[in-house]
């Protein structure tokens, strides 16, 4: 067996230290070693977007990164979004029924979080483009686009005190 490596990083602001095999992806690390199962694995080859998390603030596929590579990084997962109740993006998804089975939702939320940080007033076309890398197989995209528009309006009116890290 390959030598294990010590990995130290922060997940949603909390320090985490674990011993990992190099082949363990960040997604499996978050789910199995940190026991944060909100990050979902759909395709495990970077196509579906369900495992999207933030790495030092940038959206990444956690199935395409080895945990050992995240040593020293700040990781943000869906569990880090809510503070004192749901995050405005989560609220908007809830209000607009922007999910059916919910499997793709964590990746959608993290992708939308990144989109709205960079572009606070996206058009519907821009929203669709931004979500093209997140696959929903319940085909609920209309409601998701509605929710993102609503979330953008809420965030413009009242930015949350603490953003996901």
């Amino acid at each position: 067996m390959a030598e294990r490596h010590v990995v130290r990083l922060t997940v949603n602001g909390e320090s985490v230290e674990r011993l990992v095999e190099p082949r363990k992806t960040l997604a499996d690390f978050l789910r199995q070693d940190v026991e944060l199962t909100g990050t979902h694995l759909g395709c495990e080859h970077g196509v579906c977007g369900a495992c999207t998390v933030l790495l030092d603030g940038d959206p990444v596929r956690s199935c395409l990164l080895f945990a050992v590579q995240a040593d020293g990084a700040r990781v943000g997962t869906v569990e880090g979004l809510a503070h004192d109740g749901l995050h405005p993006i989560q609220e908007a998804f809830h209000d607009h029924f922007a999910l059916q089975c919910g499997y793709c939702t964590p990746g959608m939320l993290m992708t939308v979080h990144d989109l709205l940080q960079r572009s606070p007033s996206p058009t519907r076309e821009e929203i669709r483009k931004a979500l093209a890398g997140n696959i929903c197989r319940c085909t609920g995209y209309h409601a998701i686009v509605d929710a993102v528009e609503a979330a953008a309006a809420r965030l413009r009116a009242a930015p949350p005190r603490e953003a996901a890290r």
Binding site: A2, E3, P22, T25, H45, G46, Q69, D114, G133
Partner: protein, 290 residues
């Protein structure tokens, strides 16, 4: 869908990376952004015994401008290039092509050097770099060597890089004044690999005629495909709609793409002609602003 075990090596310097490659040879694989290699490892289509991670190697991620020419470190992230004001100002073809590479989460990690070294024939960056007359620097145990992008790509997923070389830099020469560029593609979904894509670079001479011209396609052959006859058709003339239409016809007749599950050869040829005409028309209109 879990990778086979491997030994993880994270060199801090380029010489260290090169000596690790030289020592471990075919058993080792370089890891750049990982957006192509890690899927292959997850599916166990690739089972390297050792992974040499370049993400902690110093001095490989940079964008430098010298007299209008650009030097880009191999490990520069696609997202960094896409947002760089220097790249946007000097080389707007790159951000236009990059916006079509995967999705934002892919570009956060994906690197320019990784994309070129992977050499997927449908990928946007190899065609764009070839259209820009890019030069690629490889560093190995015998030192550095630089070769033009056009002779770097040898076949499907195959480049001129030796097994013990690291792609360290991409150099882009300064574009002539009044240059217009355009990258266009047709894909099944936004972010998918192109069925057909084209990178166009054209310059307007002081007499109003077209000088420099490059048309390079992706998705229509084993490597980026340059259509020099189409370039010759516009160069030296004041191209208009009739010339652009002639280019469309020439491209359709010249290219010999393969058909596959996603599109037949005939469809790809048809689309190649259309995107060539549209991209050339747009690029020429942009020469007014250069």
């Amino acid at each position: 869908m879990k990778p086979a075990p491997f030994e993880y090596l994270a060199p801090r310097t380029v010489p260290e990376a090169v000596s690790l490659l030289a020592r471990h040879g075919e058993e080792a694989k370089l890891l750049a952004g990982g957006q192509s290699l890690v899927p292959l490892m997850n599916m166990r289509l690739a089972r390297p015994r050792r992974v040499i991670d370049l993400n902690r190697t110093q001095g490989l991620a940079y964008i430098r401008e010298v007299n209008g020419a650009l030097r880009i470190g191999g490990m520069t992230r696609q997202a960094t290039l896409e947002r760089s004001p220097v790249i946007g100002g000097r080389c707007p073809l790159l951000p236009e092509a990059l916006a079509l590479v995967g999705h934002p989460a892919i570009r956060s990690r994906g690197t320019i050097g990784g994309s070129l070294a992977h050499a997927d024939p449908a990928a946007e960056l190899p065609a764009a770099i070839a259209a820009l007359d890019g030069q690629i620097t490889a560093t190995g145990p015998r030192g550095e060597r630089t070769l033009p992008a056009t002779s770097f790509f040898l076949g499907v997923l195959t480049t001129a890089l030796a097994p013990d070389e690291v792609l360290t830099e991409i150099a882009l020469p300064a574009l002539p004044p009044r240059t217009g560029t355009c990258f266009l593609e047709v894909a099944r979904r936004h972010g998918d690999f192109a069925l057909v894509g084209v990178a166009v670079v054209v310059s307007r001479r002081s007499d109003g005629a077209c000088g420099h011209a490059r048309l390079v396609f992706c998705g229509v052959g084993p490597t980026p495909v340059r259509v020099a006859r189409a370039e010759a058709l516009v160069s030296g003339r004041r191209p208009d709609a009739a010339v652009f239409a002639a280019v469309e016809g020439l491209v359709r007749e010249t290219l010999q793409p393969d058909g596959d599950l996603h599109a037949s050869a005939d469809y790809r040829r048809e689309v190649a002609g259309v995107v060539a005409r549209r991209a050339l028309t747009t690029a020429w209109s942009r020469t007014n602003h250069g």
